[in-house]
C-alpha cells in the first residue's frame, strides 16, 4: 500500500516543485498523527495545503481513505476535520468528485460527540449543494438512507439534518422515499432520534410541497407533540412556529392550534416553559387574529403558572408581546388583559420571576405613553426599586433610559436615590460592581446637579473600598464621569478629592490616587495634569512603600505623553533617574521602562519632522501632544505588569518583604519582551 506513494504516482502538483517545498508538507503529513494534539490540530487545519500538494487524485485515493479511518482522535481534531471537509470540493477535483468526501464525513456523523456530528452534518449539507442532481441520487441520497437506517442512534440523529437539503433536488420517486425515511425517524424507538427529528421538522416542512405538509408533516407534528417523553414534546413547540408560517389562517386554526393549545397546558412545566420562551415567534407565526383569541389567554395562564421557571420565561416576553400586538387597540388590550397580571408578578414569591420582569417592564412605558406610565407603571417601578432582591433593583436601574424618554427621571429620583445608596453599600461586592457600571448612565440621566448633590460622595467612597475590583471600577467610572461632565467639573469636584488621598496612611489608597491620575489625565488635559497632578505624583516618588514608587514610575510613563517638553525635561526626568537608582529592583525596572519611553517622546518632540509623519497613521490624534496609548494597544507588554497588580492586591495584608517573593518569577518576562521589542 505504501508503494502507491512511490515516485511514479506523484502527481504534477507535487512533482513540479523541488525538495524545498516538499519538506514542510512532509512535516504536516507526519504531524497528522503526532502525539501532541496541538500539532495534529495544526496539521488538520492545514489539510487544504496538504491536499493541494498531493494533487486531486492522490487526495481522493490516499488522503481521504486515511482520514475516513481517523475517527479515533480527540474531539477538537475531529471538529476541525469535519469543518475542513466541507470546503474540500475544489481539492478533490470539483463537483464531479464531491461524493468522494462523503465517506469521511459519514464516519464523522456517527461519533458520539454532538458538536463533531453537527459539524459533519453541516459540511455534508454544504457538499450536497455541490452535487449534480444525478450525483445527488447516486451518492448522497444513499448516504442519507444508510445513516437513517443505521444501527446506532448517533447516525440516525445525524440523518435527520440531511433530508431537507436533498429533498428539493430529488426526483419524485426519491422524494417519496425520503419522506418515508423521515416518517420512520419521527417514530424511532430512541428519544434521541425523535428529538432530532422533531427539531428538524420545521426545516423539512419548508422544503415540502404544501399538500405534503398538510398530509404528512402535520400528523407527524401532532404525534411528536403528544410523545410520551416531554423532552420530545417541547421540541414540537419549536416546529410549531415553522409549520404555522407555511399554512393559511384557516389551516393554522384547524391543524396547528389544537396542538399548541395542548402544549400551553401541558402537564410538564418544561413544555409550558418552551411555549413561554417561544412566545414572540409563535405570536408572529400565527398572526394577530389567533393571537387575540388564543395566545393572549394562554399567555395570561403562563404568567400565573404554578412553576416559577415558566412565569420567569413568560415575564421575559411581556415587552415583546406588547410590542407585537396590532397598533389598533393595543393600549386598551395591554391595560385590560396584561397589566393586571404584571401587577401580581411584581410581588411574586420567586426572585428570578421578579428580576425577569424588572428587566423588561420599563420597556412598556414607551408603548403605553406618559399618562398610563405615571398612573399605572410608576407604582410598579417604585415597588421594584424597593425590592429585597438586589438583582431586581439593578435591572430597574439599568433600564432607566426607557422611562426617562417618556416621563423624565424626576418622577423616579426620590425613590431612586435610596435604592442606589443601598446597592452602593451592599455587602456583596459584585452587587456594588454592578451599580458602579451604571453610574455613568445614571449621571447622564440625572444631570450634574443632582449627581453632585447625591451621588458624588458615593463615587468617592468606592475609591477606598476594600475590594480591588471595586476600586478599579471606581477609577474607570471617574474617567467616564469626567468625559460626561467636562474638565471644569473634574477640576472642582473630583481632582482635589483624589489628590488628598495621596497622603493617606494606607498605601493601597495612595496607589489608588496614582491609578486615578492614570485614568483622568487624558480626560483632564495638559493644564490640569501638569499643574495639579504632576506635583503630587512626583512627591510620591519618595514614598516608603516600593509598590507606590514603582507605580509612580508607571504613572509618569503613562502621563508623559500629555505633558509638555519642559515639564518632562525638568521635572519628570530627574525623578525617574532617581527612581532608576532605587534599591528595589522592581522600582528600578519600571523607572527604566519609563525613562526610555520619555526619552523616545523627547526625541520625537525635538524632531518635529518625524512627528508630522504621525498624523498620517490611522487613528492618530489631532492634539498637539501624542495620543497616549489606550489600554488595549499595549496589552501584550503590560500584561505581566497587570498580573503584578493583582498579585500585590491578593497579598495586601502581607508585609512588604513577603510581597516581593511572588514577583521574582514574573520579572524575567517583561525584560525579555523589552529586549525583543527594541
Amino acid at each position: 500500500m505504501a508503494g502507491v506513494a512511490g515516485p511514479a504516482t506523484g502527481s504534477g502538483a507535487a512533482g513540479g516543485d523541488g525538495d524545498d517545498s516538499l519538506y514542510p508538507i512532509a512535516v504536516l503529513i507526519d504531524e497528522l498523527r503526532n502525539e501532541d494534539v496541538q500539532l495534529r490540530l495544526n496539521s488538520i487545519k492545514k489539510l487544504s495545503t496538504i491536499a493541494l500538494a498531493l494533487g486531486v487524485e492522490r487526495t481522493r485515493t490516499e488522503l481521504l481513505p486515511f482520514l475516513t479511518d481517523t475517527i479515533y482522535d480527540e474531539d477538537e481534531v475531529l471538529l476541525a476535520l469535519a469543518e475542513q471537509l466541507g470546503n474540500f470540493t475544489g481539492l478533490v477535483g470539483g463537483p464531479d468528485f464531491a461524493h468522494c468526501l462523503l465517506p469521511p464525513l459519514e464516519s464523522l456523523a456517527t461519533v458520539e460527540e454532538t458538536v463533531v456530528r453537527d459539524k459533519a452534518v453541516e459540511s455534508l449539507r454544504q457538499i450536497s449543494q455541490e452535487h449534480t442532481p444525478v450525483a445527488l441520487e447516486a451518492h448522497f441520497v444513499p448516504l442519507v438512507k444508510r445513516l437513517a437506517s443505521g444501527d446506532w442512534f448517533t447516525s440516525r440523529t445525524s440523518a435527520c439534518g440531511l433530508f431537507s437539503v436533498c429533498y428539493p433536488r430529488a426526483s419524485i420517486a426519491v422524494k417519496g422515499e425520503i419522506r418515508q425515511y423521515f416518517r420512520s425517524l419521527c417514530s424511532d424507538d430512541t428519544p434521541m432520534v425523535r428529538r432530532a427529528a422533531a427539531s428538524k421538522l420545521g426545516e423539512f416542512a419548508k422544503v415540502l410541497e404544501l399538500d405534503s405538509v398538510k398530509s404528512e408533516i402535520v400528523p407527524l407534528f401532532t404525534n411528536l407533540a403528544s410523545d410520551e417523553q416531554d423532552s420530545v414534546r417541547l421540541l414540537a413547540v419549536e416546529a410549531c412556529v415553522s409549520i404555522a408560517q407555511l399554512l393559511s389562517q384557516d389551516d393554522i386554526e384547524a391543524l396547528v392550534m389544537p396542538t399548541l393549545r395542548q402544549a400551553a397546558e401541558d402537564k410538564s412545566w418544561r413544555v409550558r416553559y418552551m411555549v413561554a420562551d417561544k412566545f414572540s415567534e409563535l405570536q408572529k407565526a400565527v398572526g394577530p387574529k389567533i393571537t387575540l383569541n388564543d395566545l393572549i389567554p394562554a399567555f395570561q395562564n403562563l404568567l400565573k403558572d404554578c412553576e416559577a421557571e415558566v412565569r420567569a420565561a413568560a415575564a421575559h416576553k411581556v415587552k415583546e408581546l406588547c410590542e407585537n400586538l396590532p397598533m389598533e387597540g393595543r393600549e386598551t388590550m395591554i391595560m385590560n388583559q396584561i397589566l393586571p397580571y404584571i401587577k401580581e408578578l411584581v410581588s411574586d414569591t420567586n426572585q428570578h420571576v421578579k428580576s425577569a420582569l424588572a428587566s423588561v417592564i420599563m420597556g412598556l412605558s414607551t408603548i403605553l405613553g406618559k399618562e398610563n406610565t405615571i398612573e399605572h407603571l410608576l407604582p410598579l417601578f417604585l415597588a421594584q426599586l424597593k425590592d429585597e432582591c438586589p438583582e431586581v433593583r439593578l435591572n430597574i436601574i439599568s433600564n432607566l433610559d426607557c422611562v426617562n424618554e417618556v416621563i423624565g427621571i424626576r418622577q423616579l429620583s426620590q425613590s431612586l436615590l435610596p435604592a442606589i445608596v443601598e446597592l452602593a453599600e451592599d455587602a456583596k461586592w459584585r452587587v456594588r460592581l454592578a451599580i458602579i457600571e451604571y453610574m455613568p448612565l445614571l449621571a447622564g440621566q440625572l444631570g450634574v446637579e443632582f449627581f453632585d448633590e447625591k451621588l458624588n460622595s458615593l463615587c468617592m467612597a468606592w475609591l477606598v473600598d476594600h475590594v480591588y475590583a471595586i476600586r478599579e471600577a471606581a477609577t474607570n467610572n471617574l474617567m467616564k464621569l469626567v468625559q460626561k461632565f467636562g474638565t471644569e467639573w473634574a477640576q472642582n469636584t473630583i481632582v482635589p478629592k483624589v489628590l488628598v488621598m495621596a497622603n493617606d496612611p494606607n498605601y493601597l489608597h495612595r496607589m489608588t490616587t496614582l491609578f486615578c491620575i492614570n485614568a483622568l489625565s487624558e480626560a483632564c488635559g495638559q493644564e490640569i495634569t501638569t499643574k495639579q497632578m504632576l506635583p503630587i505624583v512626583l512627591k510620591m516618588a519618595g514614598d516608603q512603600v516600593a509598590n507606590v514608587r514603582f507605580n509612580v514610575a508607571k504613572s509618569l510613563q503613562k502621563i508623559g505623553p500629555i505633558l509638555d517638553t519642559d515639564a518632562l525635561q525638568e521635572e519628570v526626568k530627574p525623578v525617574l533617574q532617581k527612581l532608576g537608582q532605587d534599591e528595589d529592583m522592581d522600582v528600578k525596572y519600571f523607572a527604566q521602562e519609563a525613562i526610555s519611553a520619555v526619552a523616545q517622546r523627547l526625541r520625537k518632540l525635538d524632531f518635529p519632522v518625524k512627528d508630522s509623519e504621525e498624523p498620517s497613521a490611522p487613528g492618530a490624534d489631532k492634539n498637539h501632544f501624542l495620543r497616549p496609548r489606550g489600554p488595549g494597544e499595549d496589552t501584550g507588554k503590560v500584561l505581566p505588569l497587570i498580573s503584578r497588580h493583582k498579585e500585590t492586591e491578593w497579598l495586601e495584608w502581607l508585609p512588604r518583604r513577603q510581597q516581593r517573593q511572588p514577583s521574582l518569577g514574573v520579572q524575567v518576562q517583561p525584560r525579555d519582551q523589552h529586549i525583543s521589542c527594541t
Partner: protein, 491 residues
Amino acid sequence: MMKRAGWRCREHWAASYNLACSPTYHFRLASFSLPSSLLHWSKPPPSRTWTVVMTYQQDYLSPCLYPLSALSDIISTVEFNHTGELLATGDKGGRVVIFQREQESKNQVHRRGEYNVYSTFQSHEPEFDYLKSLEIEEKINKIRWLPQQNAAYFLLSTNDKTVKLWKVSERDKRPEGYNLKDEEGRLRDPATITTLRVPVLRPMDLMVEATPRRVFANAHTYHINSISVNSDYETYMSADDLRINLWNFEITNQSFNIVDIKPANMEELTEVITAAEFHPHHCNTFVYSSSKGTIRLCDMRASALCDRHTKFFEEPEDPSNRSFFSEIISSISDVKFSHSGRCIMTRDYLTVKVWDLNMENRPVETYQVHDYLRSKLCSLYENDCIFDKFECVWNGSDSVIMTGSYNNFFRMFDRNTKRDVTLEASRENSKPRAILKPRKVCVGGKRRKDEISVDSLDFSKKILHTAWHPSENIIAVAATNNLYIFQDKVN
C-alpha cells in the same frame, strides 16, 4: 435525634478507616492480570427455559471464579450493560474492570456464559480536598452503563464526589508510514525526500481503549450514593446524602439540583437519602429512598424542584417489633425499579420489599433475607455490620429477586412460586464447573447435617453487590475481592 447523629458519624468513621487500611494500593496494578484460564465450564450447553431454572435445585447453578487477588481490592459495584454482553466491576482502588462475554461459536457452545477481561482502567484516583481537609477516596461507588449509541461503549462511574463518563472503544488499525522517518524510525535526510507519503492504515491486534469523556465534579458536598441514567438518553442524576442533582451528559459545568432535603439547621437532620433511581421508561419519574425506610416518588413535570414528592411509600411500623434498632434496620440501602417499571424493590437490613407503584401504604411482597439475625442485632451493632448496605437486583423478567447476606451467602426469591434459596459464593466449594448447593442456617439448638448455625456465620464475608444479566440467567456476585459468575446449568 442522638442516635441519628451517631449514625452519620459512624459512617464517616468507617470511610476513613477503609482508606487507612488500603496498603496494597501499590501492588494493585501488578495483581491485575486476570488469568482467564481459570474459567472452566464443564457442563454441556444450557438450553433450559426460565421456569425450570427457578426451581433452584442445587444442580442448576455452576460457578466460575475470578480471583481478584489482593485483599484490599474489594469490589464495590457490579453492573451488566444493557445487552449483557459486558459486565463492569468497580473496586475500592478506583479501578474499573470490564468483562466481555465470550462470543458464541459452533464448536464451543458450552462456553456460553464465559466472560473474559475486556478492559481495565483506573477511573478515580485518591484526592485530597485542601479547603475542607478531607480525603476523597478513590473507591467506585456505582457504575451505570449508557444505552449504546455507536460502536463504542459508555459508562458512568462515580466515587464519593466526582462522576466520570468513560468511553470504551476498540481499535484494530493503525497508521503506518512517515515521510521524515524510515521503517526503523530513523530520521531521514530532508534532502532525500522527493515524494510525499500518505500514511496507510494496517490491521493490528485488537486494542481496547478507555478514555474519559467528561468529568462531572464539584457538585456534591456529601457522598454520592447513586447515579441513574434517564430514559431520555440525555440526562442522568446523582444523589448524595442530602441532595439530588440532574445533569446533562454534554454539560459538565452546570447541574440542576432537583431535591434538597438539607434542613436550615443541621441539628434538625432526621433522615438522609440512601439511594435514587429513574423510572426505566418514564423520563420524568424517579424515586429516592431514605434512612427512615420510606420511598418518595417525584414527578419532574410538576415542577423544576422536586422537594415535594408525588407519592410516598411507607409501611406503618409494627409496634410489637419496636426496639432500639428498629430505626437503623429500617433504613433502605437500595432501591430498584423493576424492568417493567410497575414495581419498585427496596432492601433494608433484614428484608426485601416489593412495592406496587399504585399502592403507597404497604409493600405487596416482603421477603425475609436473614431473619435469624434479628436476635443478634446487638452484636451486629457493635461490630458495625448493622450499617452494611446490601443491594438488590431483579432478574430479566422481574420474577426473581436476588440480594446478598453474610458468610458469602446470597439469596434468591421466586416471586411466582414463593420459593427461595440460599447459595454460597466461596472459593472452597466453587471449583470451576462445580454445582452450588443450597445452604441452610439453623436457628435452634439442633443442627442438622449441612446446616450452619447462626453463631458460626462469618460476618466479615458479606455479599453486598450482585448483578443479573438483563435477559439470561447469568448472575455476577461480588464477595469481597472475588467476583463469581454463575449461570443456570442445563444438560
